[in-house]
Structures are given as structure tokens and as C-alpha cells.
């Protein structure tokens, strides 16, 4: 067990846990931020995507001890209450079906647009293939990102 200080969504949080505990479970079970989801546990499906220093990361693979010096952003910290352009685009396009993977889709999309404000279709496809969706919302994911980027829907 160790005491670890985290910079999470603009606040400082302290957790007491095993240093090798994945960030995902620290967020969900110890801190109670359940917007970040468990999907596969091996970094394949991406539904646990958060930002570490602004970059998308799979929180099921990241050990909490390795996050100590990094700024962690989860879906709960992306905006105050859903006004991030990606979230607004997501609502405008009505992307979610079951909704379970959507926080991760949004975190992945927000990271893409932060680095590349005008991604083309191939860049969107390449980047967003990191997060799986079983309901099949991919066509709307593409549309929403194009909308958030201020482009016509592809």
C-alpha cells in the first residue's frame, strides 16, 4: 500500500492503494468517478480512455503510481457540464445508443481535435479506431467530430 497524490481534473486527490493498481480502478472504485468505463482490461477496446497531460491513455493499463506527476483528465473533468465542443457536437448528432463507450469516444475525439483541429476523414478513422463501440455508433462519431471541427459532415 502506498499514499499517492494525483492531479485529477484540476484538483489534488490523495489515494491509499497498491502502487500497481490500474488508474481505471482507482478512479472508479476508490475515487468514485465512474464515467471512465471498464471494457477489456488489456488495452484493446479503449473504453477506459482518459487524458494524461492531454494525451489519450488507456487507464486500464496505466499503473496509478505512474500518474503521480501527470495531469489526469476524465470525462467528468472535460468540461463543467457538457459544454466542450465535442460534447455539444455529440448531442447535436445524437451519437449514443447504449452510451457505455461514449465517454471514451469523446475523450479520444477531444484529444484528436486538441492536436489536429481539422482532421480529415482518414485521420478521424485512424484515431477513433482506438475505441470500440458494439452498438455501432461509428458513422455518427465521424459526423460529430466533423461538426466539432467546424466542417461539413463527411
Amino acid at each position: 500500500m502506498a499514499r499517492i497524490e494525483l492531479r485529477l481534473n484540476g484538483c489534488l486527490r490523495t489515494v491509499d492503494c497498491d502502487r500497481s493498481m490500474p488508474l481505471l480502478w482507482v478512479l472508479r472504485d476508490l475515487i468514485g468517478l465512474t464515467g471512465t468505463k471498464y471494457g477489456c482490461g488489456i488495452g484493446m477496446c479503449g473504453v477506459c480512455t482518459v487524458h494524461l497531460d492531454g494525451d489519450p491513455a488507456r487507464s486500464c493499463l496505466v499503473k496509478v503510481a505512474d500518474c503521480a506527476d501527470r495531469e489526469i483528465t476524465t470525462i467528468e473533468g472535460l468540461s463543467g457540464s457538457g459544454e466542450h465542443p465535442v460534447q455539444r457536437a455529440w448531442m447535436a448528432v445524437n451519437v449514443p445508443q447504449c452510451g457505455y463507450c461514449q465517454p471514451a469516444q469523446i475523450m479520444a475525439a477531444a484529444a484528436l481535435l486538441a492536436r489536429n483541429p481539422r482532421p480529415d476523414r482518414a485521420e478521424i478513422d485512424r484515431h477513433m479506431s482506438s475505441v470500440l463501440c458494439r452498438c455501432g455508433t461509428y458513422p455518427r462519431v465521424r459526423q460529430a467530430i466533423a461538426l466539432a471541427a467546424g466542417r461539413q459532415v463527411p
Binding site: D18, M21, P22, L24, W25, R28, D29, L30, G32, L33, T34, G35, T36, K37, Y38, G39, C40, G41, I42, M44, C45, V47, T74, I75, E76, L78, S79, S81, G82, Q87, W90, M91, N94, V95, P96, Q97, C98, G99, Y100, C101, Q102, P103, I106, I124, D125, R126, M128, S129, V131, L132, C133, R134, C135, G136, T137, Y138, P139, R140, V141, R142
Partner: protein, 738 residues
């Protein structure tokens, strides 16, 4: 997911009664409103003192949009603002006595009834205002959750009228809103949970926690029927947060409602610790008689069964003569694999069990089945069991089985404290309730450019035969038979027969299951026959539907009939031919395939366009035309078609679960691949402007797409895909057909 369900609804539930929900005694239903200041107007409607309208709707949201559907109908008929409606899923009980959502039947079963119900509630609110103001009903109108008297400029909110309205008799003649006055119905409405879903506030089963809860991971017998010999938890003590373990005893594979395996539940203070400890547990299993079960052996057994299939599902004309009097006779064998659902949210449940009460929080859409299972395990009466349904992170039929929730009940009972059981993804793959595999022997004949004979011999496993054999009629499983019986073509000589087996492994419903088998095989086979006849896929189908009549097939136990309206299919095909640009030139390596399907009264067809280069398939475009009657929410329909298509494409390209030594080989998304964003084609959905009754869209989008994909591959390469998934079949030498 099965036709029985919707007919059960019609036959037995309060939803089917002529008096509707309002036949329930008002304000006497035992349902507590979220807002205790509110007024219960019926078993299903409560109006809060803040004006919010709370619906208690027994159909479960799992991404298919039924909460949005019910909220839209309520807002429309009650004349309230869409955002002022909250939909709740009740626990099974009086008035909600057969809770199960499936069969793409929710919209069809409830649309008209919801409208009548809310129209009656609105009329009662108007009546209360009429008596209060002493003015005639005809002088009143409703808007934005208020009753308005224009002559005097007065108005009252529904929350002010609700108590008086609840004392009034229920009108049986409340007029429905005319369709030309619809503000919301027939137009796109947003998902009722979209704001919570994009901010991470939406609460799924896996997100729930209750006071005093511990986390559990379950180590199950690796083979069905395996028994626990011994376990050593010494290594678990090295995991911080490990709290101990309990043993649960399983039951026979054919147990109703669910088969549960022997297992050892590892308890811990968080999910991760529970799974870490579970991996360290040392267990010795007696594997039992299924330890040799494997896929190749079972497929050989199915192949023999297909040749010997004796249950006639449909017979017309004289097959022998049709196969003799022919220009060309064709034969082929089609095969398909076990398939897993793999919803993104793994199975989970929270259970609180005491001597007097059991409460389960479970992402399921078979709540009444769960109650039956809980009563069996606990001996508690029905009114001592509560089932709470959170949001569901995808199901596709998986959560019509409630095994995971019953496991949580057994663990909580043994542990003597509230327990949250979370499955790993590996468990989800290895202990799923899979779609049946199949082998089908096909024969057919063409003469003079027409398909003149069609023979289909079906072999597969039956969901019912294992656990619910009483659902079969003289050994015939109609959930298997009916999707084949509805072959829509006017072919003079037809014989369809089937043989089903009870597999020693629990199989389940998979986005309707058997239509994904029967419609795939039939439409692939039609493509072969049409090609042999030298005809175009659209032309040949249209000529085989040319009567434009309706054919009907009766369920053997009197549940009613399934209909195919050939005139609706003709229209679907004609619109699809245009929209898919079927007759336009193709690029090198490109192919197009067509398939259609009728299910649950929804008529639809799809064209897949793809390109094959060096054995690699690139999906270019899927065009879908669907006639599902009045389009309640066109956005939901389009979303369900898009999702259904992608679900089917994943299965066509990659989907396959295999068994070795009694165990599932696949373990995660690495070896059970699903489509990614990059692999997803452009998808265009067109909804036919239809006068037909409302019909369902949750499952049918999946049904034609596998066959359309296989036919497109043939068009592109000349290679016939007769065994799914396509996987790497295009990368090695294959038999081809001229």
C-alpha cells in the same frame, strides 16, 4: 429476442388488456413516485409537484431507444415539454407481471396503447379543470403541461390539477391527437439520456454501489458440469484488499431459468483486487463428461442432422419434380459459427440478500425471469424480491439470460453481506450464452431463367430445447422454423425442414438469433440460384414477388401469424435499387450484393458495396431501405439500422467462437474481433414513407447484411462464401464458380 415474448405480452400482461393500464386502481398501485409530493394518476403516470411527468414503463432501455419512445409519446399526447418527462423502469409486481424486453416488439406492442393511455390522462386533467372553472371541456385546450381556458385567459398546471384528476373516473373515449397535429412523433428526437451519456453521469449496472458492499470475482468450473474438488486461497492473501472467498454450487445444465456453474467467489475491497486474487486462486476441478466437447465434432454432428432433418417447416409444389424438370440443379452446404454478444459493459450485478428480502440491481431486460430465479434460490415470496434496472451497456440478447445476477445472489447469500459481482471480459467471452452454430444443406433448380425449386435442410441448436422444452410443439422449435418459413419468394417447389439439438451448453438469443441464420442462408442461396439463372439480383427477386400479395404463416401453438407483404418488399427493393446506385459502373475489384428480410413485420433490404484487393475486404458502402410502418422517431430507426448493420458486418467478417476440450477458445477482443471505426463503411438508411402499422427496428438491421456481404464478395471475386465468418478465406485458394 424471440417471438414468444411479444405474444406472451399480448396474451398475458396488463399491457394487452382492453382496459389498458387505467384498469389498474388509481393511486392504489403501491408504486412510490420519486417525488413524494406528486400524484399518482395511474399505475404508469405520476405528476410531480414540480410538474415533471414520471413514467413507469416496463420495457427496458439498452440503447435501442425505448425510453425515448415512451417519453416522446407521453410528451405528445399529454402536451408537455419533452424534457419534462422522466422514464423509470419498475420492479416486477402487480401491473408489471411479465417484464421482458425483446423480439423488436416494444414499439409495436406499446405505441398505440401508450397513446390511448396518455390521451385518457390528459382528458382527466382537462375534466378536472372543466369542473373547477365550471366551463365546458370544449372551451379548453392543453399546451406545455397546462390546461388553458382562452376565453378567460386562465390556466392551471398539470401539477395543480393532478390530485383532482386522479379522483375522476377513467374515460374510455378520450380522443387521440390527430397525426397532422403531431409536434414530436414522426420527427427526430434526442436520446433521453444523451446529456448524461456525454458527460459520464449516466449510471450503468457496473457503476452502482450500495452501503456495506464488497466486490466479488467468480472463478467458475471451466467446463459445463465441472465440479469443485478443492481450492487453496493462500496466494490470494498477498493481494491487498483480499477479504476471503465463498463457494457456490452450480446446477444441471438444463436448469430453468439459468444454468449456474460451480464456482468460488473471491471477495475484496475493490474490483481490481477481487480479479487479481481470483487469478491467484488454486483450484482443482473434476471436469466431467463435457471435457471433450469441441467445435469440429459438433459441426459434424450437425451436418449429419441436416441430412436427416425431418420436421417439415414449409412445403409447396413437388420438390422432386422441380429438381428433375430443370435446366440446372445446384447443391451446397452452408455453415455458421457460435457467436458471442460481447456488449461493451461486461456482466455484473449487485445483490443484497437477507432472510426477509432480496434486492438485486442488475443490467437485465428479463426482470421477471430474474425474479423467478431469485425466488428459486432464496425461497422468498414475490413481494419480498425487488429488481432495479440501471442503464444497460449493450445487450443484443445477452441480458435476456440472468445467470450473472443469480450468481451475485448466491454469493451475497453465502457471504452474508451485499456483493457486487463484476465479470472480466475474458469471462464474458468464455461463459457467454452464445448464438447457435448451424449447418444447412441446400438444393435448388432453375429453369427458363426462373428459380423453380428451393430445398433447405436446417440443423442447429435450439435455445428452448435445453431449458424450456415445453415451448416446443411436437419437437418443433418455431423460433427456428418461422424465420425460415417466411421465405418471401413465389417459388413453385419448396421444401424446408429442420432438426434441432439441445446442446450441452447454454445458448441464447442474439439480435433475434435464428433470423440471422435463416435469412443469411436463404439469401446467399437465392444469390447462387439467381446467378445460375443468369438473372440480375433485383430483377429476379422482383419477378418472384410479382403477385404483390401477402403470405401468412401460423405459429404451431396458436400465437398468431407472421406475414410477408410482397407489395411492401417490392417497394423497398425499387427504392433500394435507385438509392444504392445498383446499376452504376463498378471500380476494379468492387462488388455489390443484395439481401432482404422480413421480421416482426418490418420489411427491409440492403445492398453492400465492397472492394477486394489481395484478399483484403474494404467495406465501401451499405445502403438500407426499411419499411417499419409509421416512423415514430426516424433518428432512432436510422441509428438501429446503422448499428444492426455494423453488428452483422462484425459477424460476417470476424465473428466466431470455438470450443476445444469443453472450453471456449476466444478470450477478449483480440481474438473475437469487432468492427472498428476505420473498417466501417458509409451507411445510408432510407425509411419508406409507410402507412403500415408501427413495427420494430432493434434486430432486423442485422438480418440481411451478412448475406449481402457474401454476395458482394462473390460479385467482386467469384468466390462463394458458404461458411462464416469470411475471416481469411479470400487469402487462400478457393473453389470458384463461373
Amino acid at each position: 429476442m424471440r417471438k414468444l415474448t411479444r405474444r406472451e405480452f399480448l396474451a398475458r400482461t396488463a399491457w394487452a388488456g382492453s382496459g389498458l393500464f387505467l384498469a389498474m386502481p388509481l393511486a392504489a398501485t403501491g408504486i412510490r413516485a420519486p417525488d413524494r409530493q406528486g400524484t399518482t394518476l395511474s399505475a404508469y403516470v405520476n405528476i410531480g409537484s414540480d410538474g415533471m411527468v414520471h413514467l413507469f414503463y416496463p420495457f427496458t432501455e439498452m440503447g435501442q431507444g425505448v425510453r425515448t419512445l415512451s417519453a416522446t409519446v407521453a410528451a405528445e399526447e399529454l402536451d408537455v415539454v419533452f424534457d419534462c418527462v422522466r422514464v423509470h423502469t419498475p420492479s416486477p409486481g402487480p401491473g408489471f407481471d411479465d417484464m421482458q424486453t425483446g423480439g423488436s416488439y416494444t414499439a409495436r406492442a406499446t405505441f398505440g396503447r401508450l397513446r390511448q393511455h396518455f390521451a385518457a390522462v390528459r382528458r382527466m386533467l382537462e375534466q378536472a379543470a372543466s369542473e373547477h372553472w365550471q366551463v365546458p371541456l370544449t372551451a379548453l385546450r392543453t399546451s406545455g403541461g397546462r390546461v388553458i381556458h382562452d376565453d378567460s385567459g386562465r390556466s392551471l398546471g398539470y401539477e395543480e390539477l393532478a390530485y383532482a384528476a386522479a379522483q375522476l373516473p377513467v374515460p374510455d373515449d378520450a380522443p387521440l391527437k390527430a397525426r397532422n397535429r403531431f409536434r414530436l412523433l414522426g420527427r427526430p428526437q434526442p436520446h433521453v439520456h444523451v446529456a448524461d451519456m456525454v458527460t459520464g453521469r449516466a449510471v450503468y449496472g457496473i457503476d452502482q454501489r450500495v452501503e456495506g458492499m464488497v466486490h466479488a470475482a467468480l472463478v467458475r468450473a471451466p467446463v459445463v458440469g465441472g465440479r469443485l474438488r478443492s481450492a487453496d486461497d493462500q496466494p490470494c492473501h498477498n493481494v491487498g484488499g483480499y477479504l476471503g472467498h465463498v463457494v457456490i454450487r452450480g446446477n444441471a445444465v438444463n436448469s430453468y431459468p439459468e444454468h449456474l456453474r460451480d464456482g468460488i467467489a473471491v471477495l475484496a475491497s475493490n474490483t481490481w483486487a477481487a480479479h487479481e486474487a481470483a487469478q491467484r486462486l488454486v483450484v482443482d476441478w473434476e471436469l466431467g463428461e463435457n471435457a471433450g466437447f469441441d467445435t469440429p465434432t459438433y459441426m459434424r454432428r450437425l451436418e449429419a442432422s441436416a441430412s436427416a432433418s425431418r420436421h417439415t417447416v414449409r412445403e409447396e409444389g413437388d420438390l422432386a419434380e422441380g429438381l428433375t424438370q430443370a435446366d440446372r440443379v445446384l447443391e451446397a452446404t452452408y455453415r455458421g459459427p457460435f457467436l458471442a454478444h460481447a456488449p461493451m459493459e461486461p456482466m455484473n450485478a449487485v445483490a443484497i440478500v437477507t432472510d426477509a428480502h432480496c434486492e438485486v440491481l442488475a443490467p437485465t431486460h428479463a426482470q421477471s425471469r430474474l425474479v423467478a430465479g431469485i425466488r428459486q434460490l432464496t425461497g422468498l415470496p414475490a413481494d419480498a424480491v425487488t429488481v432495479r434496472t440501471p442503464l444497460i451497456g449493450g445487450s443484443f440478447g445477452r441480458r435476456l439470460q440472468v445467470d450473472y445476477a443469480l450468481e451475485a445472489v448466491l454469493i451475497a447469500k453465502a457471504a452474508g453481506r451485499p456483493v457486487k459481482l463484476t465479470w472480466s471480459r475474458e469471462e464474458d467471452m468464455r461463459f457467454g450464452c452464445l448464438r447457435s452454430p448451424y449447418v444447412q444443406k441446400m438444393q435448388g433448380a432453375v429453369r427458363g431463367g426462373r428459380v423453380t425449386a428451393f430445398r433447405q435442410q436446417i440443423a442447429c441448436s435450439s435455445v428452448w430445447q435445453l431449458r424450456e422444452p415445453h415451448m416446443l410443439v411436437d419437437g418443433l422449435d418455431d423460433t427456428v422454423a418461422m424465420p425460415a418459413a417466411v421465405l418471401p419468394y413465389a417459388i413453385p417447389n419448396v421444401r424446408i425442414s429442420q432438426h434441432t439439438t439441445a446442446l450441452p451448453y447454454p445458448i441464447g438469443w442474439w439480435r433475434a438469433s435464428y433470423p440471422t441464420i435463416q435469412h443469411t442462408v436463404q439469401e446467399c442461396w437465392m444469390d447462387e440460384l439467381i446467378h445460375a439463372a443468369g438473372r440480375d439480383a433485383f430483377d429476379a427477386r422482383l419477378s418472384l414477388l410479382s403477385g404483390g400479395d401477402t403470405i401468412e404463416f401460423a405459429w404451431h401453438n396458436g400465437w398468431g401469424t407472421d406475414k410477408v407483404d410482397r407489395s411492401r418488399l417490392i417497394r423497398v427493393l425499387e427504392e433500394l435499387r435507385q438509392l444504392s446506385r445498383w446499376d452504376s459502373p463498378k471500380k476494379p475489384g468492387q462488388g455489390r450484393g443484395l439481401a432482404m428480410s422480413v421480421y416482426s413485420d418490418t420489411h427491409l433490404a440492403q445492398v453492400v458495396e465492397l472492394t477486394v484487393h489481395d484478399g483484403e475486404i474494404q467495406l465501401d458502402r451499405v445502403t438500407c431501405v426499411v419499411d417499419c410502418g409509421f416512423a415514430i422517431n426516424p433518428d432512432t430507426i436510422a441509428a438501429q439500422m446503422e448499428g444492426g448493420i455494423i453488428f452483422g458486418l462484425s459477424a460476417a467478417l470476424f465473428g466466431q467462437i470455438t470450443f476445444e476440450k469443453g472450453r471456449v477458445v476466444q478470450s477478449n477482443f483480440t481474438d473475437y474481433r469487432i468492427l472498428t471505426c476505420r473498417e466501417t463503411p458509409e451507411i445510408h438508411v432510407h425509411i419508406v414513407d409507410s402507412q403500415a402499422e408501427v413495427s420494430g427496428v432493434g434486430e432486423p438491421g442485422t438480418h440481411p447484411v451478412m448475406a449481402a456481404t457474401c454476395s458482394a464478395v462473390f460479385d467482386a471475386t467469384g468466390v462463394r462464401i458458404r461458411s462464416l465468418p469470411i475471416a481469411d478465406q479470400l487469402k487462400k485458394p478457393q473453389r470458384t464458380e463461373s
